[in-house]
Symmetry: C2
């Protein structure tokens, strides 16, 4: 599952209203749910599968699970800090450690010894060490009679304070996460690893076999795996909790768990919010992505090195387009909105019938609908006013904002600059990963042209970007006048504080200084007019649900640790049945079926290994577990706590999983544990690595 | 492609109004059309593919093409009368030559020498020797001012006369076929082969791999082939025209032709007729088939021999259910009827705008709509009043009707009993194929119970069937009192004429004597009230189309020889791409993917041959050629006139091909010529047969 969130997009403004989350009404479908580890559906598990995870079992899984960067999942698979994840989660790092001379993305990588492992420039691994309910502390900040804007500020300050104190006390990354849209707040503490090295990756063509066409489909034939190693004090991290390996893998019908970090779902949106998605948010997003894909592909045609530079972004956009198109088509198809409308009507009827509930909660839906109407008035501005380019603009804006925010008390800062967030922020900001000026230029020109078309030449944000020039002139001037590709300069600016930034003449810093007030105005407007309304309204609906249905539910996804569960199981597809697994036979079949033409060609080593492989080895498989983007790289675990697979995708039928779950055809697609061993040993000559994983 | 027509159904009444055919309006989609050989789309072929078949090329293909029985197609593939077709076309014969001791359906069959070949009881092969336009002769029979009923009678008499004279003169099977719903009539003369032997068939599990689930889908992995041999004068028939073999097969994108006998299409139906299909015909048919499937499956559970007896019918019903359900779902889905309505509106507007056309043609649509309304009044009677059972009832009714009809002049007889039709009719009627009393009984009981439920206990037809007994008693009495399983008795009765039949006390003959007047009443009612209206109305619409659009069109399918053409080409499917071909790798993948569980298990010989096979050999493939049920067994031919494949199915996206053709995803599925050779040589040890086909 590729994360729907666009990791590679420049820092910009998201449609905050989109992410308001609500609790689900009514009983759950079979195998539904991305459950927090404090609230597993023990009854369903016991009744349906005869299995109840013990607290020790859950703790072990939690401590062996790894969140990766800002979009993926993984797990420890050896006592020496070996982390298993997807190739496409590692893709950004693979690209950053590659060069015009050595392309690890296309060629793969294997470090036979520790000395051969390559340091990654900017990946952070998080292990969830503890979970603490801080709902009472957060809510105590809001005093009776506070106006909505003040109340929101107070709550944010309380959260920042909790995080700061926890960090100070434990030295652990401390994030307060809002679950059940504010029905609960939890303090999650993470052990962080930032000294991470690359150990193994196959060729992208083996990992992403079938390319964009096969992405988000099944049957699949991908070895979408990569291995990092976490280091501590210059040595491989010793981890007490890691997952043992099941060489056999899961059988048809077997119960499995998925431990990972689903990014976001919208299952609890109100009807008004879903209608807004269908009519405004998706069309905007699709148009934006389609245009950027054209730009990236055009840049890639300039030569092999340009193609290498753009490859990651092209992968990301195609992935985003496929999932967004799928979700959009789903939303437009017959019956979906009617189903949501019926659910909402029923729920609201239940609330209206209880006078106390009615008085307390009934107004929330109209408040959200009104906020959406307000949002529509500035929709294009909020969407298109983005700092142009791929990385340099975002870096500059962060520097300008950071030195300003650090002057303020923690509770008053912009989100993202609170004390507890700074270490991770700096780590990314000072990343030595290479920057490609030619590619930046192409993206900046596109962005400026698009803003001109969408917002008109008089838009103040656009005018601040162009500074009187044409898009082409502006892009050239920006790139000619910057040295921000050097992380040392970034560090000097941040360390120099407001004075250093104020006198800096670097072109991107100058631009960021012009844009900063406009960005702040939009954030403020959004907070005062939208968030301060929709958050408390969402809370009310959440409380209404707690009242009406109890807590037999899971919160919408928040890119924090969740456990999903389900059975390994095929499904009805295309007029026939999709099998629960594929085999290596299928990989060679698909290649031959397309006459070995891209994107269905075999990498050289895979083609050559054919006669060495046991072709009946399971390759990929599906289960009913409930996931979404962000779960990429999650281990699939059997009841013995062993790795039986590695989540890497969902099928086309899972697209609507953003809005609801239906286990008739929604499936998680994973690499089979046996396939990973077969590939390591017989295709990639990584016998030693296989032994480490197998504990031999 | 399994023929949608149910070969195994007892003789009954079809909904004649359903088969009225109309010419298509507007320009054709790419690769659309089941073309008569006198009117190939030369311009399209030349423009799109740069190929124009010569008259000699067309004649060669025609004379090498074989129509098989009443539902399949095939081709000569050696100078010694070897006929290639599908296993599922040969299935009926395979079942009839099998016994409780030897099951050629499940085990396959191969005759290494001529002496080993098994005579088939009742299959007739037809080769189209000549085609003659007899439109003027047929239409001359209708005199000005004749009332519709008389006009229809006159036309039928003229047709019977043309056929009779042709038979007398040429001794060739002579059929007048109505094309463009009476816009043209053609006399087709066929050379007949009734001395046919079975040469080769794989196991049904290899031919129909994936069973009902995979049926009508793609990618596929079936070796759906069988070989007959036509004999003449006790020796293998020497045929001047046979198709050479292409061992290599067709390449991606290559132009191919399909020569075969598509059964029926409804592309030119009026909107009123399609609505009738959607609201009445399909629900009736589906309900009927679902019930019969239950009965057949229940019978099959009684034991292995019962399972063997019922296997063919179960295959047929499941096949029919899958295609009918697909067509029905398609008709119900959004946009289909709207599209048809828009086409019709546009066409009728064109006619109305020309005063002469308006006067001549404009009333036809209302006439058809009115006939449909009339048909609805007797719908259930016309559908459910069927002679009960599988074969015995139908045999008896044919005997009773035949001796009566033979007393009349040719032109006055019921359809099916004209002189030119008698030889084929007798051949089937006197077939020595085994009859299974237990299975007959189960089907008779079901039929009588269903009539009771649907028509009520007072229905005269039902009462005539039951003769005062319960369904179970009636069935038992019928089977206890008959010797019609013996073909010699049937022959004696027919030869004995009306007197012999009148005094016959065989229970089924007695029943047929009771039913015959009721059947005749229904046929007459249908002719006088429906056919006499819809046929001339259909002719009018056909003439209107000729006037408006010319003859750049093909007639709806009529189970006569047609050529389709198209490119070997994959398509977008299930969110990704379906390849243009599959390979043997895919077969072993699918088996392993389902842990070799039925219907995805490998037959023993296929499993054992794995290491001998070149697994990259193409297995099945798809092309855009336009086909429908009846095309089963058609050769796929390259421009050199060589066999590159063997049609056996369509994909799910082809279901709507009954109503319109759309080449984006509608595909013909064929066995690849290379797969057939690989299988013959390496799986079935039929090297000698392979050599005969390859001309070695």
């Amino acid at each position: 599952m590729k994360k729907n969130q666009s990791k590679w997009l420049p820092i910009g403004l998201s449609l905050a209203v989109v992410t308001i989350l609500f609790l689900l009404a009514g009983p759950l479908s079979a195998d539904e749910g991305m459950w927090t580890l404090d609230n597993m559906p023990m009854k369903q598990l016991k009744e349906k599968y005869g299995f109840e995870p013990t607290p020790a079992w859950l703790e072990h899984i939690r401590l062996a699970s790894v969140r990766i960067g800002d979009g993926g999942s993984g797990s420890f698979v050896s006592p020496n800090g070996l982390v298993l994840t997807n190739h496409h989660v590692a893709l950004g790092q693979l690209q950053k450690v590659s060069s015009a001379q050595k392309n690890y993305v296309s060629d793969g990588f294997y470090a036979p010894t520790l000395a051969d492992e390559i340091p990654c420039p900017d990946v952070e691994l998080n292990v969830l060490i503890s979970m603490e309910d801080v709902t009472t502390k957060v809510l105590a900040a809001v005093k009776k009679g506070m106006d909505p804007v003040k109340a929101l500020e107070a709550k944010k300050a309380a959260i920042a304070n909790i995080e700061r104190l926890s960090l100070k006390k434990t030295h652990l990354r401390s994030d307060v996460v809002s679950l059940y849209q504010g029905g609960e707040y939890w303090l999650y503490r993470y052990k962080k690893y930032t000294d991470v090295k690359l150990v193994f990756a196959p060729e992208q063509q083996a990992a992403f076999y079938g390319g964009d066409p096969d992405n988000f489909t099944y049957p699949r034939h991908d070895i979408d795996m990569a291995l990092f190693r976490a280091y501590e004090n210059g040595k491989p991290a010793k981890v007490a909790h890691y997952l043992k390996w099941s060489a056999k893998g899961a059988a048809d019908g077997e119960l499995v768990f998925i431990s990972g970090n689903p990014g976001s779902t919208n299952r609890l949106m109100t009807l008004a919010q879903i209608q807004f998605q269908r009519e405004f948010a998706y069309p905007l997003r699709l148009k934006y992505l389609e245009r950027m894909l054209v730009v990236a592909k055009k840049y890639a045609t300039k030569g092999p090195e340009e193609a290498r530079q753009a490859a990651g972004m092209i992968f990301g956009i195609e992935n985003g387009l496929k999932v967004s198109s799928g979700e959009y088509e789903g939303l437009k198809s017959a019956g979906i909105l009617e189903k949501k409308a019926a659910q909402e009507t029923e729920f609201r009827k239940l609330i209206d019938e209880n006078p106390q509930w009615k008085a307390e909660f009934a107004g929330a839906w109209e408040q959200i609908a009104a906020a959406i109407e307000k949002q529509k008035l500035r929709l294009k501005e909020l969407y298109y006013r983005r700092v142009p380019g791929m990385r340099l603009g975002g870096i500059a804006l962060q520097i300008v904002q950071m030195v300003a925010e650090l002057q303020k008390p923690d509770g008053k800062r912009l989100d993202g600059y609170h004390t507890a967030e700074l270490e991770s922020r700096r780590f990314r900001l000072f990343s030595p990963a290479p920057i490609y000026p030619g590619f930046e230029e192409a993206l900046i020109v596109n962005s400026l042209m698009q803003m001109t078309e969408e917002l008109g030449a008089d838009d103040p944000f656009l005018k601040a970007c162009l500074d009187g020039k044409t898009p082409e002139e502006a892009a050239k001037a920006l790139l000619a006048g910057t040295k921000l590709a050097d992380p040392a300069l970034r560090k000097r600016l941040v360390d120099g504080g407001p004075a250093a930034v104020a006198k800096c003449t670097d072109s991107f810093i100058v631009l960021a200084r012009r844009l900063d007030p406009l960005v702040r105005e939009m954030l403020k407007w959004q907070e005062d007019n939208i968030e301060s309304v929709t958050r408390p309204a969402g809370e009310k609906i959440g409380q209404a649900r707690f009242n009406a249905f109890g807590k037999n539910a899971y919160p919408d996804a928040t890119f924090t640790l969740r456990l999903s569960y389900g059975a390994v199981r095929g499904y009805a597809m295309n007029g026939t049945l999709a099998p629960y697994k594929t085999t290596f036979y299928g990989l060679y079949d698909r290649a031959e079926s397309f006459d070995n033409k891209p994107p269905f060609h075999l990498p050289k080593r895979v083609a050559e290994a054919r006669d060495k492989l046991d072709l009946s080895t399971p390759l990929d498989f599906v289960c009913t577990g409930d996931i979404i983007g962000g779960n990429s790289g999650s281990p699939v675990i059997n009841t013995a706590g062993e790795v039986v697979g590695l989540v890497f995708d969902g099928n086309v039928e899972s697209f609507m999983g953003r809005f609801f779950y239906d286990d008739t055809a929604n499936r998680t697609v994973s690499v089979h544990s046996a396939a990973m061993m077969e590939a390591l040993k017989k295709i990639y000559g990584a016998e030693k690595l296989a032994q480490e994983i197998l504990g031999e």
